[in-house]
């Protein structure tokens, strides 16, 4: 069946089976492969995307259910080719990743957190990313990245999108 998905500001109509998850539609139909398949049962957070700005599991939702929402994937965060967002840059600065597989989900989660709370406490950061499993880092440098991004945001005029 046909569904119109609005992803990173562009609306595209795709033809999917009703059982196709939003994750599979993004990856296979739209070739937006930054959202990753981890557990396919809503625990690991590797498939995190933003739906109307809120982090959500793309593996737990059918593509057809996403019709009419504004979706943001990791591909929508970098302001220009070759240019990182402030949060992405902070993750690079602290090396808040290793294999990179959970990273898009972590960055999007951080993006949503800092939009809602530009100066989160360490506890709040931990709580936000506790929905995303990382097997490489032990989370320390991810927390540091988000703290660094918050500090830089406080010193800039820009919002988290840039």
């Amino acid at each position: 069946m046909k569904v119109a998905l609005t992803v990173n500001g562009d609306t595209r109509e795709i033809d999917v089976e009703p059982r196709t998850t939003l994750l599979d539609a993004l990856r296979d139909s739209l070739r937006l492969t930054g959202a990753h398949t981890g557990c396919e049962h809503g625990v690991c957070g590797a498939c995190t995307v933003l739906i109307d700005g809120a982090p959500a599991r793309a593996c737990l939702m059918f593509a057809v259910q996403a019709d009419g929402f504004e979706l943001t994937t990791i591909e929508g965060l970098a302001p220009a080719p070759g240019e990182l967002s402030l949060i992405q840059d902070a993750f690079c600065e602290t090396h808040g990743m290793q294999c990179g597989y959970c990273t898009p989900g972590m960055v999007l989660t951080a993006h949503a957190l800092l939009r809602d709370d530009p100066a989160p406490s360490r506890e709040k950061i931990v709580e936000a990313i506790s929905a995303n499993i990382c097997r490489c880092t032990g989370y320390g440098q991810i927390v540091e990245a988000i703290e660094l991004a918050a500090r830089r945001l406080a010193g800039s005029n820009a919002g988290p999108a840039t």
Binding site: V43, C92, T103, I133
Partner: protein, 800 residues
Amino acid sequence: MSGPGRKFRYISTDRRVREDRRFVVGKGNYIADLAVEGMLHVALVPSQHAAARIISIDASKALASPGVHAVVGGDEIAAASEPLMNGLDTPNVRRFPLAVGATRYMGEWVAAVVADTRALAEDAAELVEVEYERSPHVIDAEEAYKPTSPPVHPAHGSNTLLDRVFDWGDIDAHFAASDQRLSLRVTWGRNSTVPIETFGVLAQWDPWNEILDVRASIQMPKYADQIARALRLPMNGVRVHYDVDVGGSYGVKRGIKHSVLVGHLARKLGRPVRLIEDRLENMRSGDAHGPERVFDIDVAFDNDGVINSMKMRALDNAGAYAGRAPFQLGKPIGAIVGPYRIKSVRYHAVSVTTNKAVEEAVRGFGQSPTNYAIETMVDRVAEAVGLDRVEVRRRNFIRADEFPYLIPSGTRYDSGDYHAVVDKVLARVDWTALVAERDALRAGGTLAGIGVAACLEPSGGNSSFEPLLNPKNATTTWMESCRINIDALGTINVAIHTTSSGQGHETLVATAVGEALEIDPAKIRVTRPDSLSSLPGNSPVGSRMAIMLGGAGFHAAHKLKAKITAIAARQLGCAPAEAAYCEGAVSHGGKTIEWAKIVDIAHRQFHDLPEGFEPGLEASHIMQTPTGEALPTADGRVQMYPCHSFEFHVVLVAIDPVLGKPELRRYVIGHDCGVVINPHIVKGMTLGGIAHGIGAALLEEFVYDSEGQMMSQSFMDYLMPSASEVPHVEIVHHCTPSPLTVFGQKGSGESGYLGAPAAISGAINDATRPLGVRFNKLPIRVGAIADAVAEALEKRKEAP
């Protein structure tokens, strides 16, 4: 963090990890991101029994299902391929990608269905009808070890894959002369690294060029060799592409059965075929479980806490097939006494088959379970002699002035200063204050305990356990390679010959080459040619790439530097030895030849090249592992890994006595891995290793019921630490350079994980000791703590 007395330009400096840029924007090149025109997909039919004969497979309904191209069973695979490689000399433990004639664990792949999409393949897989006849099974390793147990592989005759006793030193005399002895048994539960990306492989067969192209999320030595052997192809008929980013591995991504299966299917069907495990396939039948091990230890020691001798039996449950897993009993031989001066050791290594999923390499290759056993033993010794646990460790540590130090099993430790690291850590934690904090918690009704663990990370893997445990194997090299080409415009291109799974090898090698050439590493391009264009290597296992890839890059760069210097010296009219290389330019007598000129000569002006020089500017280096070039002695002594990093953990745990939930209140680790190449990478490895260790200590286990059904099949049953479970960890650095490596570096890829389970177990046991409760098995889960504590409190109430 740089080594004492040595100044570096780029090594050990605060530099970004170059790989991060692509990951942070979602542009990693993972296997599931690769879509090829005409690609087919695989789903698997899992076995419903722990042990059964396969009577028949009826695929007719599946083949009639939409989009299905083939259904393949074990008989076809067995006819089309050679058995997968075993590490030990166990030819009758035959393993193929699919069950052949019989299934040996629940979830084992009995048939593969190939269809236009994964969804259609899964639909059809449910329609495959398999008729089984159940046979006796065995789940427990002790049971499997008994001669009366049903053999998982009847042709092998028993379940015993390895049963060998090593005697190193005069054990009986040391036991007789010691004041005391004690025995203990500890058990390491079956867990794994469970990367968030499951294993995946894509194969394409080109019948006109007779070549099989393989892309996979692989971390495996000799991968192309094994595919070629199994599929009876010449090795130059298998082209493995190393430019695939691997979404985490930590040892386990060794999908050889997947790869041989998909290679066969791609040849058979003439279409690209891809298999990506789903989470259940990954956990239940991906053949990627870690060691499951029972340790029985007798230890002989004096009243002052000095440990003289140790007898250890390690019984490992390898699961249904042999693979490379039994070698995980061999690698710890290289640090079998930990950081201690234990004079003699009897080591009885036993590996058995059972009807569980197959064991694979996990971070540390058996070292973390062994460290847990050794450290628990040291805690017991301290308890027996009534001394502080740290003090007993200090009394037994090898002293800094004793290196290089030969341990009873034949390995010479390169360097270390264990006392200094411990001193630094105790100063950081303020040991007296920490003890006071624990006691205050106890006074307030909380169970509280402090755990400590001191252990080694053998690094620079040389695979000496292969000839040690398999007499037919004479491996004495485990090389790694690097090639550097300076192109016609003078930019530097470095080739590495492996996949990476988050270790930052591009950053590592660029830093090493940049350091040697005195050129900013950011200007160096790093590429990964495919296996047919690669020099020999052994992939990033055994905590070896800082030593081996860093070393290969360094040596290749020095060969280039010599060429550059010789070309310039000819222009300068001096001998190469008289010319001085500095940051890419070469000088003598006030005159300098710049980089661009040297490149020009090399690429365009043959008439100006020194005699005998080939045009161009290229150098490569195939590096032999430092040490370990000799085969084992008859009594089983061998130099295992060359370098030995040290770590010392201190952790304070508080446990709610009703809920049993442990909270890690303070975590400090002292870490000495010699000269650090990139501080961000080493920090991340250490923190990540501790998180992994927390999982092994408290949460993660593949639990089987008595019928062989795996009970922890999802991330809701197999629990992994989230950010809420991992505390803030303080790292205390120390640097004892290795004398065996180019910069003084040692390995760090397993750091944290090698001591965290031991330390956390020690802390929990310290917390429950006042109640007389002891935990001898990992993981120590919340329920187990709550039950044991409740029982102890109940008994205490009942006591008169």
